[in-house]
Symmetry: C2
Subunit: 153 residues, 2 copies
DNA sequence: CTTGCTATTGCAAAAGGATGCGATAGCGAA
DNA sequence: TTCGCTATCGCATCCTTTTGCAATAGCAAG
């Protein structure tokens, strides 16, 4: 896969933060994971490269990278927080609260709505990884269709 | 829709769950809190009434009430999860990632967008307590306006 | 009212995540 | 290159939330 299209190191330095091997290794680990990863998976990946890196450092670095907006974090249904590289195309998820099915939704429709919100409230919404819960088409039909629900009333 | 002082007890029973004093006390505690409350605050409130109720029960009940959709949960910036009674008018929050300022946004604009999403994707988004991060008007201006960007000592 | 089924609780312990503090090491200046 | 400041790290510990299991107690049927 092609390399960093973003000079993270320079960006960090420019904003007065330090570029440490730990941060680079952790960022690499997130990158290699390729998608949603948990802190634990990241820690394991990091350990393989440099076993001296502490768990706390992973958590703190994850926090730091989120604040830098190089990484996005999200609760995706049950289980622990998941992390993902930002900087790619922003995208968003729809998660079915019944069957857990996850699908994606493009940035454009979300972005347009953010613009509407800004017009209405003067608040600039600025999320590049929104997670929305609801019902997928199948579960909505099952829920609406009382084929085996003895609703007496 | 007229707001309903839900008969949650009957609702629970109808759905095959039990109505226990713990659940009623915990629900009361959330109700009394009046707004966003943490699990810890709820636990303390509950303790005042019935000191035999365990922390785990509070967490499990909170989960249960969320699944029943009598309560909504959300991460609001830093700190622990916050809970709130559902059943009132659904509402949503805009939180400034710079200054932490929180403001509300009505359900209508959100609902309309959910309808758009449903048209586009056949997925029925169904959230009554969305939390959106971004920049409030003031912080956006400060960020865009480099009047004091040289923060070098 | 009594009985039985099983959902729910309390307890204890663990998983996931955050934090205070002394030691270490980036990185800009000399 | 060396020096000094202080951001960051590792460690230990704590906080928040989840989970397994045996005991308890709703609630509906008899």
């Amino acid at each position: 896969m092609s390399h960093t299209r973003h000079d993270y190191a320079a960006e960090m330095r420019r904003r007065g933060f330090r570029v440490t091997p730990q941060r680079q290794i952790i960022l690499d680990a997130i990158c290699e994971a390729g998608g949603h990863t948990t802190a634990d998976e990241i820690y394991n990946r990091v350990q393989a490269k440099s076993s001296a890196i502490n768990r706390a450092t992973v958590y703190r670095t994850l926090d730091f990278l989120c604040e830098m907006r190089l990484v996005v974090a999200a609760h995706v249904g049950s289980g622990p927080m998941v992390y993902e590289l930002a900087g790619e195309e922003p995208h968003h998820h729809l998660i079915c609260r019944t069957c857990g099915h996850t699908e994606s939704i493009g940035h454009d429709i979300v972005q347009q709505w953010f613009a509407q919100v800004e017009q209405a409230t003067s608040f600039t919404v600025d999320m590049d990884h929104l997670v929305l819960f609801g019902l997928c088409e199948q579960c909505r039909r099952s829920a609406a269709d009382p084929t085996q629900e003895t609703s007496s009333k």
